[in-house]
Symmetry: C2
Subunit: 330 residues, 2 copies
């Protein structure tokens, strides 16, 4: 069995900070902090991303009514070579740090690892965070936006934002109930501008593993939400599941399709990036548990593990999806 269950892990605080595009989107009012421009009052986009991380972590700590000294382990990661935002943030706090990389699946990856530390009493309180930024990610993986290269219609828009959670054993409204780690899946997709399609099979695999491990299906969840599959990848995943005989009960959704207003905003095929699943799940999805409107939600954060060098060497794009189940806690 791949899925691991947690009996004593609760979310004590959670917070998000985003950029201007995200603020203007349909769930813009739900984020804790938003900046009017992508520089976030800094001189470089890299520093801007770090500012978003600071803001999210600081706010999460305040909401949990904890200080940084109360945190015993930090799990973090981001998209910039090599976890720049995470390392430069974590440098300023005096807490042991575990660096993780799962591309846009980071959100579930860092939260799950923090949960493992709390569940097994290796840490009383753990902080998990991740971030992404439209300007840093584009120049990391494709081309700097300043080049003005025309985007393909299959492209996604990297979410500018950061999210942070504080986990502990004290009961709260949001329980981190289980984690299904993903395998690396590669169905031979090669287009770095169509990562949604490449990632869909990974989400499909993790979802099937989770259902097999738990004996559950769609009707056991109020929502099952993938990270950033884009309109194309999400449609592909839906097809795969329907072909396999699953009844989706209209409960399958995607974070990247919730964060922007496709009529008003130029959001291509949807939002992507580590911050996409992190910010949407923390700000919107988990609020349903907090408000007692839902009982159980699964977030399947999806990551395209491409490297610019490997893509240039004509390699295909390996992908991964890590799933976390959140339940109403008390």
């Amino acid at each position: 069995m791949t899925t691991i269950n947690f009996d004593n892990v609760y979310m004590l605080g959670r917070a998000t900070a985003v950029g201007p595009m995200e603020q203007k989107g349909p769930i813009g009012h739900m984020f804790d902090k938003a900046y009017d421009d992508n520089y976030c009052n800094e001189g470089t986009f890299e520093k801007a991303e770090r500012t978003l991380v600071y803001q999210a972590c600081d706010t999460a700590l305040r909401k949990a009514d904890l200080h940084v000294e109360d945190i015993e382990i930090v799990c973090g990661g981001d998209l910039i070579n090599q976890l720049t935002s995470s390392h430069y943030f974590a440098r300023d706090i005096d807490v042991p740090f575990i660096g993780m990389y799962g591309a846009c699946s980071n959100s579930s990856l860092v939260i799950s690892q923090a949960a493992i530390w709390v569940e097994n009493q290796m840490a009383k309180h753990a902080l998990a965070f991740t971030s992404s930024h439209v300007a840093t990610a584009e120049r990391q993986f494709r081309f700097p936006n300043e080049y003005g290269i025309q985007k393909k219609p299959t492209t996604t828009l990297t979410v500018t934002g950061a999210g942070a959670v504080i986990l502990g054993r004290q009961k709260s409204a949001i329980k981190v109930a289980s984690f299904t780690p993903g395998k690396i899946i590669d169905w031979d997709h090669k287009d770095a501008n169509d990562m949604g399609l490449a990632m869909a099979p990974a989400a499909f695999d993790t979802l099937q593993t989770h259902f097999k491990d738990t004996g559950r299906s769609f009707e056991d969840y109020d929502m099952i939400v993938t990270g950033d599959l884009s309109k194309i990848g999400f449609s592909f995943l839906t097809d795969l599941l329907v072909q396999k005989g699953y009844n989706l009960h209209n409960r399958l959704h995607d974070c990247g399709l919730m964060i922007y207003d496709f009529k008003e905003q130029d959001a291509f095929c949807g939002g992507s990036g580590c911050a996409c699943s992190m910010c949407v799940s923390l700000a919107k999805l988990l609020q349903h548990l907090e408000d007692n409107e839902m009982k159980r939600i699964m977030v399947i954060a999806t990551g395209a593990l491409l490297s610019p060098v490997a893509v240039q060497q004509k390699e295909t794009i390996p992908c991964i999806a890590h799933a976390i189940v959140y339940e109403r806690g008390e």
Copy 2:
């Protein structure tokens, strides 16, 4: 307390694969597999690094008398943007994968995380691996070797190699006894060609934390071995410890100072890279436990968390050191 102890984690198999420079070094005969050239029969250096990973993992599995189907979780990471060697290797095995990044501290990072999965019965058997390659790392962090840029005297030589371990609960000669995760330490060093100096304070911090947590000192270990501090960084660490009043009992060593013959080989200030601490500890250090010549060894893998972008933006180099204690198991 930061240090976590393991009661039931043993090393069931371990293996290394290296390049030509490492083979010609003083411990060359101790590695399981060595290649005569840095391409390892592949067309690119990236693929060569992947071949080293394959070789190490395959050999470790054979030594543990296990098949890949027996492995329930894989923890891996490397230096190439973004864990290219690890992801492209793990794509070919049907096992859940946790991607980690701690620069050259990866060896202790991936082994410790795999140990956590085994100790807490989340996985029966876990595979942990890491790798580095002199040609891929140089072009990732500094300049491609093909440019022929003159090396500074403070520079280190990235070890070409990979190491893999299989962990499980069955008793063996090598017990994974404890893990002290590192904090990110930054003493304002800025020179990407002198990372040993930058990393020494991180090793110093983790060592102090470990001693404080356990009440032990140098005499409680047969060896305490840092990862890749270079002659300069190692000398700096020694100074820091002596100034602090520690009696080193001549038990402090560095993996990067063991792997090359400084008289015969052009190894600059010492070996570095994820494979440095991994290959030296697996091939040489742990053999002392296996041969019952030693009882307890600590490996403090050190990582310089620099990013080429951050260095260009005149940032300093944050560093980290993760320590694992290995004990004679039975």
